[in-house]
Amino acid sequence: MPIEGPLAPSPVQPAPTVGAGPDIGAPTTLFEKIWRRHAILERDGQTLLWIDRHFAHEGSFHAFDKLRAGGRPVFAPEQTFGVADHYVPTRDRDLPIPNPEIANMVDLLSRNTGEAGIRLFGLDSPDQGIVHVIGPELGLTQPGLTIVCGDSHTSTHGAFGALAFGIGASEVAHVLATQCLWQRRPKTLRVTVDGRLHRGVSAKDVILAVIARIGANGGAGHVIEYSGPAIRSLSMEGRMTLCNMSIEAGARAGMVAPDETTSAWLQGRDFAPTGDLWPMALADWATLRSDPGAVFDREVRLDAAGIAPMVTWGTSPEDAAPIDGAVPDPASFADAGKRGQAERSLAYMGLAPGQPLTGVGIDRVFIGSCTNSRIEDLRAAAAVLKGRTSRVPGIVSPGSARVKRQAEAEGLDRVFTAAGLEWRDAGCSMCVGMNGDLVPPGERCASTSNRNFPGRQGPGARTHLMSPAMVAAAAVTGRLTDVRTLTVED
């Protein structure tokens, strides 16, 4: 039965953006252009947005349960793609999953997607992998799209100039039932990184520097657009790392305007436009950039030359510092709340105020996650590990089955195993530990993942976030180490 609302729906401003022509009127941000294209109607300050792509992982069972309870069908099953990643084992895939609750999560996704007619990239698929790795890899992620998934790191897909953000289970159910979402228009924040990055400094260091600057909640309520020469020079892998951790700065979405790097990366991928559609898409994508003079609600500028390899020392991603720095003294924080937080962080992490970051001993390494598990990440880690031995145990989990095959073709797997690390299958793995890949209590892990929250990698686990090259350097010395002090072949 229809529900009468307090106000009649009002049509949105007609958007002059259909087709490949330039926008008419006031200078507009990239975000605004994508928003307008997807706005169906407005009501009481909320916009009903059309969603082009939806990815569903094992955690979607709550949403499917909700649909079943309401007796509702899936509105557009061909716009949703199922991906098994959060609970999948990263070894012994030829054997049944030993933990019945974990096995059930993987089975539930197969059942739910199967019943709804949703295409699944499941455990047995040659294209399986982490959703934020395979979406782009398959060409499902494209410029100008709205993309959602019940995972906060959906911001990753913004690297292609898409508006991509994480949603909760209720919103997953809403997208399944309607292919739309009610959203309040977010504000815009432009992060400009000028200049050139030093050798040994990667996209991971840039985003950790950004989060340290604006804080773990600094981007809340905003969509971030990353721009400037240092961003332009990043590969697609680097841009994905950057946009991935926008949520660690509190921003639900991060984006980079598409350019030749983007289209070159996408061309020929499974779901990328082909034939006559390819030049049409290219012409459209060329309009997807913030116009000169477009106004952002906030602006932040960083100088690439001032960014060093970063590591985190605390239990929030904002607790990041250059590797040549020291653990801060909680007493140095003026704000009482921050002081208390720093004290708790240091107690949890087992670190002392003023302790140099270089030299902190580690027990284990993890190379993987939707942040840093792509081929370029594995190459960067392997370049440091080549001909060397890891002093600590650790696992390397490539982001997808395709990345795994590519790495094996390049011989990277042999570099990792020769160094003493385990070469695993693709999944979320030790970033979140849902599949049982856990850091034991009290152990210190140098990790390429995205969150250093207490207990994130396992109860009592101590996480230091850093780039793949920095994790490799820590493996080689058994301590947090400035990768720039090691000889690395290009």
Binding site: P2, W50, S152, G168, T178, M280, Q341, M434
Partner: protein, 206 residues
């Protein structure tokens, strides 16, 4: 959804900033069915020691706060993972409102869709409220969503919730029902969208 109108209840001061959703519900509990009672997992690793014994220092384990239905906490509550289980854990434990200077965006949205009211107040007010709740354990606060006011501890604090969300909460409206009223407009939009950009139709792809 359970409607939210006026709530008067004991409020607990949670003196922590950046309480991420991994703290609210650790990942290992997310495979549990909702019917198992997500209150069992709320703040699990803060409430219990590794042997499963209650931590007597944790605020929600202390007598006047065990029945708290309102939390007053530090900034950036609910940042991190999008897991709606964090909201289920609070709701199943009887918490219907969280007061803080700021929230994680995704948590904020998830809360509103489950009848949990996230109330943004200036940081100094959140701090003063927590101090009052520490000074007088068991103090009750009143949340009036219709008037968008938080009362108690000798204060009246106005807050703001999007009209759309407020309407849904007050009436307990199911958002999917509401959206499906526009089914025809959605379908018309989709057709025009796909005509303008024919490569968006994934069914045309492999």
């Amino acid at each position: 959804m359970q409607p939210f109108t006026v709530l008067t209840a004991v409020a607990a001061p949670l003196e922590m900033a950046n309480v991420d959703t991994d703290q609210i519900i650790p990942a290992r509990f997310l495979k549990k069915p909702r019917a198992s009672g997500y209150d069992n997992y709320l703040f699990h690793d803060l409430r219990f020691d590794p042997d499963g014994r209650e931590n007597p220092d944790f605020i929600l384990n202390r007598p006047p706060f065990r029945t708290a239905r309102i939390l007053v906490t530090g900034p950036n509550f609910g940042g991190g993972s999008s897991r709606e289980g964090a909201v289920y854990a609070l709701v199943d434990a009887g918490i219907r409102a969280v007061v803080a200077a700021s929230f994680g965006d995704i948590f904020f949205g998830n809360a509103l869709k489950n009848g949990l009211l996230p109330i943004v107040v200036p940081a100094e007010i959140a701090t003063a409220l927590r101090a009052a709740l520490v000074a007088e354990p068991g103090l009750e606060l009143t949340v009036d969503l219709e008037r968008q006011v938080l009362r108690g501890a000798n204060r009246e604090v106005l807050f703001s919730i999007d009209p759309f969300r407020r309407e849904c909460l007050l009436k307990g409206i199911d958002e999917i029902d509401l959206t499906l009223q526009y089914r025809e407009r959605i379908a018309a939009f989709r057709d025009a969208h796909w005509t303008a950009r024919p490569w968006l139709r994934t069914s045309a792809n492999p």
